[in-house]
Symmetry: C2
DNA sequence: TCCCGCCGTGGGAGCGCTCCCGGCGAGCCT
DNA sequence: AGGCTCGCCGGGAGCGCTCCCACGGCGGGA
């Protein structure tokens, strides 16, 4: 509650000048060992903490990065994805000595706030491929790192290997003797949806493709599989591009009297907590979400340090359970 | 990319003094209508945005509030709880014109940062009743609002009606003819765990209590029900204080050859996404998580406005599905 | 008519910091 | 011995804003 000491007071207490204390605080080598110790003692004794506002005012850097979640990402709030990503991001951002400010753009005008005057950089979580935000932000000159895959624009980004995960899932189905493998895809306007579909087609290697479009919801998985069963009653595997859709798929198969994995194998994607409790437990593709967050923050830190870091694609991993 | 205009430049452009522009920006009534319009035009034309750092430096208020998630709250990251709470918080914080900074304390020293110099107030998400953080923060003189229930200390807080939800769950079981109703509790050092247990005991109204302690994990639900079945093979209902534990309970009952809801009814708590996909779908208690977040932020805003708002307890709601 | 008060306004001071320039010794070269 | 360099240090200036004091002009009361 007592007023925080200022640089000036620390300087007086240590018997040095303001500049010297500033140098010590900022780790400049231009200070003799002896002086440094005296200053550090004064800092400790007075409990000095730098005033960030004053520093930001003169350096023109705020020491904060914004995490922006694009509008319409409801999906992020229904699964642990967001929490896990935030966890990874937070840990890496704090490690870089910066603070994280959260901006969920729910129809609010972010442009006013997202300027070099307020934040040093932006982390953008957006799976929608046609999102205009990445491009907009790039226009402000603010360093941006995208979580997901940019569409067209060349934005530094971190993505997970959606295509590779889908390939692994389908390869696994083929290896276990399945031959009529259908898929319920994600929405075509999401990078994740498109890439998983691409992986599916790729792994099929000439075998017959059997596709129906979903939107990552349980209902779309259910309807998708019903349609698939109409079109091809003898299908023996379903690759659902998301776990919720896989849950819907299981429901549709059960209703249709198909046993899983006896008649039909099912593989999901995400390894959400759902996957472990379905009946039977779901084979699925796990993505390293916390690692994604951490990598995003690290990429941004590199950008802020003036480097030109490469975008990254993180590996996914097939988790085999009883449904396949 | 062009340097942002300053107050000074807006003033020159509008042909007025610096002070007048400041008054307009801050909505002071001490400005004539005509002058105000001229200044507003200049602001719009130049695209002026106030420099928050400069303002913070002189007002000694930062316009930011911190969301602190106490250490060891892994549970928050496995369920949509965190994401939903953040959503409510973010929306209300932005509505109050402030920004939200996120501080997940993973063993880092927060004290240095959590000072009136850096943030105006703190929102604390912590279900651990013995958490020392609320008390610590109160010592700094920083306004604090707790999400959950404080233990001993008198901290403004917002909680959900855990006891009421548990009472409703048990009342429902009694109303459907169940008589030997067991419970798997949450950990006794969490407010939610204790309150749900209290609600259970309360609703039992003299009927025989049958309790085993869990820790909100699926495994503890499974082990708890096995022990319960040993002690009382004829139990006909289980109230699990969390959905994950309820999932474990279902597994244990299935293994023991009990049908749900035929032999034993099961009720969970939380209404997590899991609840809708179990077999059978889970009757559970829904809590208004986004509303919790919003209420926390509103309480803090009131505190910052110098009011003395009352803590709140938000109602919970029983969602009846097939498991009971 | 004169004075007082009040509204609207301009601008000085100063928030706490970093940047940078200039100065002061001590050592080294010539 | 004189001059130069170089390491280390002090402190002025100024970042963009709010606060507040002082000032000019106008209306109303005496």
């Amino acid at each position: 509650m007592t007023p925080r000491p200022t640089l000036e007071q620390v300087a007086a207490h240590a018997g040095v000048g303001r500049g010297t204390v500033s140098r010590v605080v900022n780790g400049s080598p231009q200070v003799s060992e002896q002086t440094r110790r005296a200053v550090e003692a004064a800092i400790a004794e007075l409990g000095y903490v730098p005033n960030l506002a004053a520093r930001a005012l003169v350096t023109r850097r705020t020491g904060t990065v914004a995490l922006v979640v694009a509008e319409g990402e409801e999906r992020l709030f229904e699964e642990p994805f967001f929490a896990r990503a935030v966890r990874g991001i937070s840990s890496a951002v704090q490690a870089s000595g910066r603070q994280l400010v959260l901006a969920l753009s729910e129809g609010r005008p972010l442009e006013r706030y997202l300027t070099p005057q307020h934040v040093d950089g932006v982390l953008l979580l957006s799976v929608r491929a046609d999102d205009p935000l990445p491009r907009q932000l790039q226009g402000t000159g603010l360093p941006v790192v995208l979580g997901g895959r940019p569409d067209g624009v060349d934005v530094p980004h971190v993505d997970v290997d959606n295509a590779g995960g889908a390939r692994a899932a389908v390869a696994h189905l083929l290896a276990t003797g399945r031959r009529r493998i259908a898929t319920v895809t994600g929405p075509p306007d999401m990078g994740a949806g498109r890439d998983r579909l691409a992986g599916y087609r790729d792994a099929l290697a000439g075998a017959e493709a059997l596709e129906v479009t979903g939107d990552f919801t349980e209902g779309s998985g259910y309807r998708g599989v019903r349609e698939l069963l109409d079109r091809r009653p003898d299908l023996d595997a379903v690759f659902a591009a998301g776990d919720s859709m896989a849950v819907g798929a299981l429901r549709a198969l059960r209703e249709a009297g198909r046993s899983v994995p006896g008649d039909v194998a099912v593989v999901g994607f995400d390894d959400s907590p759902l996957a472990a409790v379905t009946d039977p437990p779901l084979t699925t593709v796990r993505q390293p979400v916390e690692e994604l967050g951490r990598a995003m923050a690290e990429l941004l830190a590199a950008l802020l340090a003036g480097e030109e870091p490469a975008s990254r694609v993180l590996p996914t991993e097939l988790v085999v359970r009883a449904s396949s």
